[in-house]
Symmetry: C2
Subunit: 423 residues, 2 copies
């Protein structure tokens, strides 16, 4: 027999062994879920004192926190948002429990109603496009899709969006009205934008068409996993320096600091943008839940308190990120079966299979009881043209569940890769 | 001297006396506010146990209430909404703290995105109109105005909207896509729709054009001031009987039961409508604050508990409504200086001046330190063509403040009426 045949037989034997291992997993009737970036129960427990913290004190800032009113949010809550986003409190509006809702309303406002009156609505100019660094956050893309804003993917690098490409496109096409960004521990690659990238994003307002807006979702600004986290440059300051304050709108929330579904959301931008946005928002709400804002003001208090809380979060989830890295390394390291990111914070790890395998891996894992985010989810319209990217979310399961899930995942990657090779 | 001259002199003397009285009020430097339907502090106090009621119990319905998820709301919260709106729990979606937000999103969904897919968006048909019973609720009209939906006023009667007029218009014009309703203790007249009116509203879906929706804001369903409140017929049942379930969308909230700014809002409609609305809403939110829903489930418990709580509210605000009636009667009764409503519940009293005087009365009151809702506010585009209507909101001030404010109000009506007569 030739060496090739030998080799083929060996590979076939390997495939059988992997398939047997896979069948064992299937027989276990697992029910594991790595789909969404949800905090784990122990993380939520860290903020249990939040509920009840008001202790019957319903007055603050000369306001009855229980009653109607206050579209802006409480002054102290604005200051809290300013702390998270590194901007003055006056530039912050505090919303309800979902920064996604603020993003939706901001794009609604810009696209359909007009950032500076009805005549300025993006959709009056015809086709409207948005730049979407990929892989990115599916819910950002969902908003654009729902509003009929055409998405153009641009590649992510380890330092942020490919700015050469972004600048070229923005210069070429005035129909490009914005750019999605998750500048720190980007969802899902985990990278933090470099100083240069932040600077160049702040400068886009000078070369873009009218009403250009960077949707700057700084969701993980304090969500470090190490004691020496990367420092994100201040885009607010960079915009001030360049006179482009109107071109960037920042978002944050306490969802992954306190209670994921019952936190407080923030939007921060120029005073002119904020005034116009409030005119829009005031039609759609009686004002935010000020009691929950006050709870967060009392609980998160100041920068030191926040840092301490986030260290406790890190102590709970760093071992989960380490577990993922260890099992990926053991099962796939140095074997040319894919590569992955190793972030210093945030909620996600990006895994890249060989081209054409992501869908198959997700399917195999699903059939063995491990639910993964659908392949392509991190791309506009759900289309990963290379079918390579899989988003891993390690925070919600227990370490034991995570270990099991990752063993299944590694087996699925091995099996799919080997079968592709054998085909 | 002739009798006419006698009469004129008497009126002029009366005017001088009133002007002097008015000047006295002005000199007092009052700062009173009857503008908005806000619960008073003592009403808010009734639900103080709401905060803290969770007592560390964060699990319910196999869900961690603190975490993400659950666009529909908690099952028990859906049941609570069902209780308030007299519909099955499965027909309810539970939102955040503002039913106005749910109304905004429902109209956004219908007008711009389509109740049954993009092809069905109202705005694809060109001009879109909405029937607005007047006087009505300014914030309803604000949503239509923001969305570019043209508002057509129709008169309110003591039994609800003038249904002859409504039916005629709906038959004539397929561009009429809906009707605003506040069926119980209507804002601001306080009337409750008769059984016949409810029946006829439920039947509109059979004569209207495609995608017709009644926005049925049942904000005061349990907000009775008497022990023998009017009973509102079930529009849900009427729609079932007539096969028009899709044509009515109901709203409610706990804002005027517990904490005005930190309550829970509900929307109820057919299952088909609800499914389509969830597709829309799911893009714009991570889901509602389930902790606050659970607080309300535990606090409002059942129909008996709700009734007891609402009786406590009535005990606090009935004296305020009585105070308004007493002072209006004393100052203006049987003198042909205006008329007003005397509702059995809700938050408002409608006052009608002689034609052409509402703006002047509001101005006079304001200059004497009594802030009233702007004249015309209860009409589309803020235009009361007869300039007669003034909305009085007696719940927020203390009885003492209310007495003062109403004395000023009565004087302003007398003065403006007399001056008009003298002109």
């Amino acid at each position: 027999m030739s060496q090739n045949t030998d080799n083929l037989a060996a590979l076939q034997a390997q495939e059988q062994a992997l398939a047997a291992r896979y069948a064992e997993f299937q027989a276990q009737g697992l029910k594991l879920d790595l789909t969404r970036g949800k905090p784990g129960t122990e993380q939520l427990d860290l903020s249990n004192p939040l509920d009840g913290i008001l202790n019957g004190q319903y007055q603050a800032e000369n306001t009855d926190l229980r009653n109607y009113g206050g579209l802006d949010g409480l002054a102290a809550a604005k200051a809290l948002g300013g702390l998270l986003l590194n901007v003055p409190a006056e530039n912050v509006l505090v919303g309800g429990n979902s920064s996604l809702t603020l993003m939706y309303h901001y794009l609604l406002h810009a696209h359909l109603f007009g950032l500076r009156g009805a005549g300025t609505a993006w959709n009056r100019e015809g086709d409207v496009k948005f730049l979407c660094p990929v892989p990115g956050y599916d819910r950002h893309f969902g908003i654009c899709e729902a509003l009929g804003i055409r998405m153009l993917p641009v590649p992510m690098t380890d330092e942020g969006p490919d700015m050469d490409r972004v600048e070229t496109l923005v210069r070429q096409d005035a129909a490009i009205k914005g750019l999605w960004c998750v500048p720190k521990y980007s969802n899902p690659t985990g990278c933090t934008y470099s100083d240069t990238v932040v600077e160049r994003i702040a400068a886009l307002g000078k070369i873009a068409g009218n009403g250009f807006r960077v949707m700057y979702d700084n969701a993980y600004s304090v969500h470090d996993l190490t004691d020496t986290p990367p420092v994100l440059a201040s885009i607010f300051q960079a915009c001030r320096d360049q006179g482009t304050e109107d071109s960037v709108v920042q978002f944050a929330s306490t969802s992954k600091m306190t209670f994921a579904g019952a936190g407080v959301a923030f939007v921060a931008t120029s005073l002119a943008n904020l005034a116009a946005f409030k005119d829009h928002l005031g039609v759609a709400t009686i004002g935010p839940d000020k009691l929950n804002q006050q709870r967060h003001v009392l609980w998160l208090k100041d920068a030191d308190t926040i840092q301490q809380l986030m260290r406790q979060h890190a102590a709970l989830i760093k071992p989960k990120f380490d577990c993922v890295q260890r099992i990926l390394e053991q099962g796939l390291g140095n074997r040319n079966l894919g590569h992955w990111t190793n972030p210093d914070g945030g909620y996600f790890i990006s895994f890249y299979t060989h081209p054409g395998l992501a869908t198959e891996v997700v399917k195999l894992a699903g059939e063995a009881g491990v639910k993964l985010t659908p392949a392509g989810a991190a791309f506009p319209y759900g289309k990963d043209s290379e079918d390579r990217h899989i988003r891993l979310s390690p925070t919600f399961p227990s370490i034991n569940e995570l270990e099991q899930a990752m063993e299944v995942f590694v087996t699925c990657v091995q099996l799919a890769s080997l079968r592709q090779h054998l085909d």
